[in-house]
Symmetry: C2
Subunit: 786 residues, 2 copies
C-alpha cells in the first residue's frame, strides 16, 4: 500500500492544500501541537470529519484490568491508558442553517499548515454551503510554550457574499470516544467513559468543566473564555456534564468578518482539591485573556526563535530532508518543552499509540537531544524518573532484586507491561536512565542536579545490576536471562549493549558517590560497595565471537541459526506479525539496532576495526522492524565511513512519520525516532562523540549535502558547528572556554573566535555493508514511502 | 497447612468414616468413579453439601475466549474447558418434610468407601431428622467398565423407626455451577450456561434430556430410568430445560426398606443428530436396565478381577503403601479403560483442574503403564492422537514448521496454551507421543497398529524435528530456543531430554518406514528422507559439562547461576508462585525431572557412572514443584542403588493425592503422577528397562518391603515377577516364549515354568544424593502430609 506524503516542501513549516478524506488520521498526527503538557492533535476545528480526536494532558490516564490467558507471579494487574482530556479545540460553525461540513457543500479552498517558527497550526478554507452561502474561515491555534496550561485559537469568519447568518459554537467536549487500544472489552470498559462529572460552571463568554477519573482518581479542570471582535453579536454559554458550549450568533454583511479568540486552560492533579483545580484554570484563562492572542503568539515566536537560534540544523542540498529534520526537531521540542516533572511518552502527546506509555526510548533517544538543545526540559524528564523511584524500588523488591527496577512501559511509574519477555526483563532501561543522567550532568555541569536527582538513581540502579548478575566459574560477571534492545531476541545471556550500559552505570555511580560522599552515605553507600561496583564494571562479560572477530549481540548469538531471509517475502514484514516469537528469538535476525546501538553509545569499547566488522555483520541481519533503528544505523554507517548509507538511513529516519513508513502514524508520531534524526546528523555526519572527557567531532558531508550546520549546548554555552565541503567552523557562543577534538586533534575554543579546520581525507571504508533482501533503507522507503 | 489423610488403611479399598465439612472437595476427587468416558466425582447422593459437583463426559467442552494483555502471532484465540455434563448421580431424599441434609439433624453414622475390586463407591449413613425420624441409607454407585455409556446407583432407605413418609427425588441436573477455571469474567461467561436445551422427554419412571453446547456445538443426551423394590410407592417423572426428576413417594413402617436402582446413560457427539443421540441413550438405558444392578455389578467385578489378575502390584511390608499403589493403579485404569479414541486428561475425569486438558503426561507417564497393563486402552489413547493429526499439521504450518506439531494442552486437539514459553515451544510432546507409539508397537507386536496409527505420526513428527533444528558450524544438529520438561527453564538450546527423545523419534520413524515401505511412500517418504532422519539422529547435540563430567539439562545449564536455596523459605514453594519466571529460567533450579527423566527414559544413552553423577548433580537442584517428578526420581534413585531414597520418592508419589501433598486435589487427581507410581515400582525397584531388544530386570527390595510382585503384559502374554529378599521368580503366563534379562543375564521363559534367580549382591552406591533444603521426599511429606 504505497502512498506519497502529500505534504508540501518548505524550509520552516509543513502544510497540505486541498482535502482528502483518505488517511486523515495521519495528518491529524503530523499537525499535532503540544507543549509537553497539553497535546492537541491536528483535527479540524469543527470536529467532523475526524478520525482520532485527541486532546491530551500529560499524565492523565485511566486504569484498566490486564487480562492474561495464564497468570504469573508479578504480572501487572492493572494497566494505564492515556485518555482523551476534555477537548477545547472544537469550534463548530453554522452558516445559515447549515453546519459547516467540508464533505458537503462546495470546498473551494482548504489548507492546513504547521509553522515551526510561529509554533502554530494555521488553517484556511473557503466553503459554500448547500444553500449557496460562501464563507472564508481562517483559524490559527497554538499550544503555548510559555504558558503551560494554555492553548488558544484565533478564529475568523468572513462572509464572501452576504448577508449571512452565522452561529459559532465553541466547545469543550469531555466525552470523546476512546481509541480502541485493546481488543478485549474488559480492558476497554473503564476507558469508554472514564470521567465522573464534578462541576460545570458557565458565564457569558466562557465556562469551566470539572471532572474526575473513576478509577485512577485524577481531577481535571478545563476552562475557556472568548474575546469577540467584528460584527455585533449575541453571546451565551451553557455547560452540562460532558460539554461546555459558548454560542455566538451574528449576521455578517458581504465582506464583513467576525473574529473569535478562544483561550483554553487545563489542569489535572491526583492531589489538588476540586476548588484548587477550578481556581487555577480560571486564573490561567484570565491571565492569558489579558495577554490576548497577539501576546500569546508573540511569546510563542520568541520562545521558538531562541530554540532555533541554538538548536537548528541547517542542511543545504536537500530541501525535503531539511524540512523533515526541522519537523523532527520541532516535534521533539513539542514533546518535551514543558513537561514539568512528567514523562515523555513514546508518541509524545500526538496520539493514543502505546496507550500513551513512556518507554526506554525517552532516555535513550530523546534525552541526548534534549540535554544538548533544551537542557531544562531534559532535567524535567529525568526528575520525573526520580519522582517514580519509590515505585521502582517496590518493583525491584517484588522481583527479589536490590535497588530499583524502572518499568518497561508506564504512565504513572507503575509497570504496565503485559508481556514480560519484552517488558519487565528488558532491564537495560535502568542503565539507559543512568546513562542519560551521566550525560546530562557531564554536559550541563549541574552539580545540584547530580546530588539531588542523579546520584540516588545511579546508586539504586547500580545495586540492581549487582543483584541481577553473578560471577561465573570463569571469574566474569554475567547477566543472564534478560532481554536487550533487539526485540527479536529475548531471555538472552550477556547482552553486550546491556552489559556495557551497566558498566557505565556502575562506574558512573561509583564516581558520583565519590564526588558526593555525604550524600552517598545518606543512601547507605559504603566504600566497599563502591569498590564492588568498580570490580563488577571491570569484570562484566562482553561476548566476542573470536572465530569471526565479531562482538556478539549476546552470548552465543553468532552461533545461532541464521534467519532464512531469502524465503521471507516482503509482505511478511514486520516479522513479528507473521512468525511466532520463539522462532525469531532463536535465530540470527535483528529487529532493531542492538549491538549497533552499543557501537553508537559506547564507542570507547570498540576499536575502529571491531566497529566496522560488527556493523557489517549486523547489517546483514537487521530488518528494521522498529522505528528506533534507522537513526542508529545512520550514526554507525557514518562512523565507519559509509556516508552514502548514512544519508539513506537519515532520510528514512527523518521521513518515518511524514511518509508513514511504518503505516501507523494514525496513532501518533514516533517521537523517539524523530529524536534519532538529531543523533544521525550530529553524532553521525557530525561525528560527535561524548562518552569521553572532550567532546569530539569528525564531521563529513556526503552527497547531496553541500553544507551542514548545527549547535549544541554545553555548560550554558552554545557550540555552533558549520560543516562545509572541505572544512568545519567551530564557534563558541557564551562564556568560558571549551576544549573539543576535531578528528582527534585538540582544539580550545573561546567565545567570539570561530575556528575553521580542514577535513582530513577519508580512508577507504571497505565494501558497502549489505542488508537482508528488501531491507535496505532505499528499498524500505521505495516500498512504503517515496 | 499440614493435614493428615483421614482415610483408613486397607488393601483393596479406601474409605472414610464420619463427616467432616473440611476439605470435602478432596474426598470428592479421591472417591471419583470413571470409565474414561464418564466421570462422576465422589459427591454425596443428595447433592448438598458439595464443593465441586463434577459429572463429566470425556471430550465434552465449551469454547471460551483467550485474553492476552499483549497479543502475538499464532496465540490461540479460543480456549476449551471441560464442562459439567448433565449430572445423573443426584438422589435427594425427604424424610417426612425434612430434606436429608447431613449438616442438620443428627448423623449417627456416615461412611464412604471406594472398592478397587468391585469398582464401586459405597456410602452408608444413619440420620435422624430434626423432627426425630431416623433412616438408614445405603447407596452404591458404579460407572460401568463394561457398558461405556452407563452408570448406575443402587439406593436403599430403611426406616429405623416408623412409620416414615419418604420422598425420593432422583435427578439429572443439567446446569450445575461451573468451576472458576479463570479469573477473567470474559473467559467465564460462555462457561456459565454452556447448554442450549433441545428436548426433554419424561416417562413414568425415567426421562431423557437433550442439550447442545452453544459455542462448541456438541450435542449431549443423558437418560435415566429407575427400578423400584420394597414398599408400595407412587412414581412420576417430570423434565424441564435443565433438570429431569423422578419422584418416588412411599410410607415405610419401622424396619421396612425401599430400594431404587437408577440407570443413567450418556452420549455426546458433534456429528450425530439429536434423534440419534436420544435413541442411543435410551437404548443403553434399556439394555442396562435389563441387565439390572446385579448384572452390572457382576460384570464390573469380573472386569476388575481380570485387570488385577495381571496388573496388580503386591507390596508386603508397608500396608499404607500397598493401599496407595493399588489406589494409583485403580485410578489409572479408571482414567483410561473406555476412552474409545479420546484423550486422557491430566486429571482424568476426576475434576475441573487444568480445564480438563490433556498434556504430554498422557504419553510420557500414563502410556507406559497402559501399554504394559491394558494395551487396548493404550491403543485407544494413541489412536486419539492420530485422529488429531490434521490439526497438528495445521499448527505446524502456522508455525512455519514441517510435519505435525501436537498441542501442549487441549481437549479437542487444538492448541489451548495461553503461555507459549511453557506451551507451544515444549515441542518434546511430539517425541513423547512418538516414544509411546514405539513402545506400544514393540511391546504388543501389533503390526496393524504400527501401519495404521504409528507410522504416520512418526513420519510427521520426524519431519517436525528436521525443520525445527539445524546443523551448526560444528556439524552438530542443534534444536534451539525450545522448552524441555522442566518448567523452571524455558527457551533453552539443546535440551538433552528433547534431543534424545527426538533421536528415538527419528530412528523409530526410519525403522518403521523401512518396515512398511509402501505405507511410507503413501506419506511421501523417500529413501533420502529416511537417510536424513538417521543422519540427524546420529548428529543431534547431547550437551555435556566436560569439566564436571555431567550431562547438561540443556546447553550451558551447569554454567548458570545456582538458585539460592539457602535463602528460600519453605513457604516460598512452589517457586513459581513467589518468583518471576525470568529469575527461575536463568538459574540452576529444576522444577521437575528433566535430565533425570532422560536418564529414566533413555538409559542406553548413559553409562552407569554418568547416570550416578548426573542424578547426584540434579538432585541438588530439583525442588519437585511438579507432581510429575517424584516417580522419575524414584526410578533413577533405585537404578543408581539408593533404594531407601527410591522408597521415599515412591511413597511421595503414591500418596500425592491421598495426602494432598500439593494442596490441590480439590480440582482432581494427578493421574499421570499416579501412573508414575507404577513406573517407580516396576522400572525403579523392579529395574525394568525396555528401551532395547530384551526386556531387562534388576529387581531389589528395600526396607520395609519384604516382597514385591507385579505383572506386565508383553505380546499378549503376562510376565509375572515376584521379588523376594534374595531372589526373584519370573513366570510367563500365555503363549510362546519370552527372552528377558536378569541383572544382565539372558533368561528364556516358557509358559508354566517359573524361573527363580538369585539377586546378586549390590555394589556400594556412593554417598546418598542430597536435595535442596526442605525438599527431600521425607521433608516434603512431613511438611504437607504425614
Amino acid at each position: 500500500m504505497p502512498h506519497s506524503s502529500g505534504f508540501d516542501v518548505s524550509p520552516w513549516g509543513i502544510g497540505r492544500s486541498g482535502w482528502d478524506p483518505h488517511r486523515q488520521a495521519r495528518r491529524e498526527s503530523v499537525f499535532s501541537l503540544s507543549n509537553g503538557h497539553i497535546g492537541w492533535r491536528g483535527t479540524i476545528d469543527e470536529g467532523d470529519p475526524c478520525e482520532v480526536p485527541g486532546a491530551y494532558l500529560n499524565g492523565l490516564f485511566e486504569e484498566h484490568p490486564m487480562p492474561y490467558a495464564e497468570d504469573g507471579y508479578a504480572y501487572p494487574e492493572h494497566g494505564e491508558a492515556l485518555i482523551n482530556a476534555p477537548d477545547g479545540k472544537v469550534i463548530r460553525l453554522l452558516v445559515g442553517d447549515e453546519p459547516l461540513d467540508i464533505r458537503e457543500g462546495r470546498l473551494a479552498h482548504h489548507e492546513q499548515r504547521l509553522d515551526f517558527r510561529a509554533g502554530t497550526l494555521r488553517r484556511e478554507l473557503r466553503w459554500t454551503s448547500p444553500a449557496g452561502d460562501t464563507v472564508h474561515v481562517e483559524s490559527t491555534r497554538l499550544v503555548s510554550l510559555t504558558h503551560r496550561p494554555v492553548a488558544a485559537i484565533e478564529y475568523r469568519v468572513t462572509a464572501v457574499g452576504g448577508p449571512i447568518d452565522l452561529t459559532v459554537l465553541s466547545e469543550i467536549v469531555a466525552d470523546e470516544p476512546p481509541p480502541r487500544v485493546h481488543p478485549d472489552d474488559r480492558v476497554m470498559e473503564p476507558l469508554k467513559h472514564p470521567f465522573e462529572p464534578i462541576e460545570q460552571l458557565a458565564g457569558t463568554s466562557g465556562a469551566t468543566l470539572l471532572l474526575r477519573t473513576r478509577r485512577s482518581g485524577i481531577g481535571v479542570a478545563v476552562a475557556m473564555d472568548h474575546v469577540l471582535e467584528g460584527a455585533d453579536c449575541t453571546v451565551g454559554t451553557a455547560a452540562s456534564d460532558d460539554v461546555a458550549r459558548t454560542t455566538v450568533t451574528t449576521r455578517l454583511a458581504a465582506g464583513d468578518s467576525i473574529r473569535l479568540v478562544k483561550i483554553v486552560a487545563h489542569e489535572w492533579s491526583d492531589a489538588l482539591t476540586d476548588a484548587a483545580l477550578r481556581d487555577r484554570v480560571q486564573a490561567a484563562v484570565a491571565a492569558a485573556t489579558g495577554l490576548g492572542w497577539e501576546g500569546l503568539a508573540r511569546e510563542q515566536r520568541d520562545y521558538l526563535d531562541r530554540f532555533w537560534d541554538s538548536a537548528d540544523i541547517v542542511l543545504e542540498g536537500d530541501a525535503r530532508l531539511q524540512q523533515a529534520v526541522r519537523f523532527a526537531l520541532f516535534q521533539v521540542l513539542q514533546s518535551a518543552a514543558r513537561t514539568e516533572v512528567r514523562s515523555i511518552p513514546g508518541k509524545g502527546l500526538t496520539g493514543p499509540g502505546y496507550e500513551g506509555h513512556t518507554f526506554w526510548d525517552a532516555e535513550a533517544f530523546l534525552l541526548p537531544v534534549l540535554t544538548y538543545t533544551i537542557p531544562d526540559a531534559a532535567a524535567h524528564a529525568l526528575r520525573w524518573r526520580h519522582s517514580t523511584l519509590d515505585l521502582a524500588r517496590e518493583r525491584a523488591e517484588k522481583l527479589h532484586l536490590a535497588g530499583a527496577a524502572f518499568p518497561w512501559r508506564t504512565v504513572s511509574g507503575r509497570e504496565c507491561s503485559g508481556y514480560w519477555p519484552a517488558g519487565t526483563i528488558a532491564f537495560h532501561i535502568n542503565a539507559d536512565i543512568a546513562v542519560a543522567l551521566l550525560r546530562h550532568v557531564r554536559v550541563t555541569g549541574d552539580a545540584d542536579f547530580e546530588r539531588e536527582v542523579a546520584l540516588e538513581i545511579l546508586v539504586e540502579t547500580a545495586r540492581l545490576w549487582v543483584s541481577l548478575g553473578y560471577r561465573g566459574r570463569d571469574g566474569v560477571f554475567h547477566i543472564d536471562g534478560i532481554t536487550g534492545p533487539d526485540e527479536y531476541s529475548a531471555l538472552v545471556d550477556d547482552n553486550t549493549f546491556t552489559n556495557l550500559a551497566a558498566r557505565r552505570n556502575l562506574r558512573g555511580a561509583a564516581e558520583a558517590a565519590r564526588r558526593h560522599p555525604a550524600d552517598a552515605r545518606r543512601f547507605g553507600v559504603t566504600d566497599d560497595e563502591i569498590g564492588a561496583w568498580e570490580g563488577i564494571a571491570a569484570a562484566i562479560a562482553v561476548p566476542v565471537d573470536e572465530e569471526r572477530g565479531v562482538h556478539q549481540q549476546s552470548a552465543g548469538f553468532t552461533d545461532l541459526e541464521r534467519w532464512d531471509f531469502a524465503a521471507t517475502s516482503h509482505d511478511q514484514y514486520p516479522l513479528q506479525d507473521h512468525f511466532p516469537y520463539f522462532d525469531l528469538y532463536r535465530k540470527q535476525v535483528v529487529k532493531q539496532a542492538d549491538l549497533v546501538l552499543a557501537l553508537q553509545f559506547f564507542p570507547e569499547e570498540f576499536s575502529a576495526d571491531e566497529t566496522a566488522r560488527a556493523f557489517a555483520y549486523y547489517e546483514e541481519l537487521t530488518v528494521r522492524d522498529s522505528s528506533l533503528s534507522a537513526s542508529s544505523q545512520s550514526v554507525v554507517a557514518a562512523r565507519v565511513g559509509h556516508l552514502d548509507l548514512a544519508i539513506e538511513y537519515l532520510r528514512e529516519a527523518a521521513t518515518i512519520d511524514l511518509d508513514d513508513l511504518r503505516d501507523d502514524v494514525d496513532d501518533g508520531l514516533h517521537v523517539a525516532a524523530l529524536a534519532g534524526v538529531w543523533s544521525a546528523v550530529v553524532s553521525g555526519l557530525g561525528g560527535m562523540r561524548d562518552g569521553c572527557r572532550d567532546l569530539a567531532f569528525a564531521p563529513r558531508l556526503a552527497a547531496p549535502l553541500t553544507r551542514l550546520a548545527f549547535g549544541v549546548r554545553v555548560a550554558g554555552s552554545v557550540l555552533r558547528v558549520d560543516v562545509g565541503a572541505d572544512a568545519t567552523t567551530y564557534e563558541l557562543v557564551g562564556e568560558g572556554t571549551l576544549r573539543i577534538r576535531h578528528f582527534g586533534d585538540v582544539v580550545d575554543l573561546e567565545p567570539g573566535t570561530p575556528v575553521r579546520l580542514n577535513t582530513p581525507p577519508q580512508s577507504e571504508p571497505g565494501p558497502r555493508p549489505s542488508q537482508p533482501p528488501g531491507r535496505s533503507p532505499r528499498e524500505v522507503r521505495a516500498a512504503w514511502g517515496d
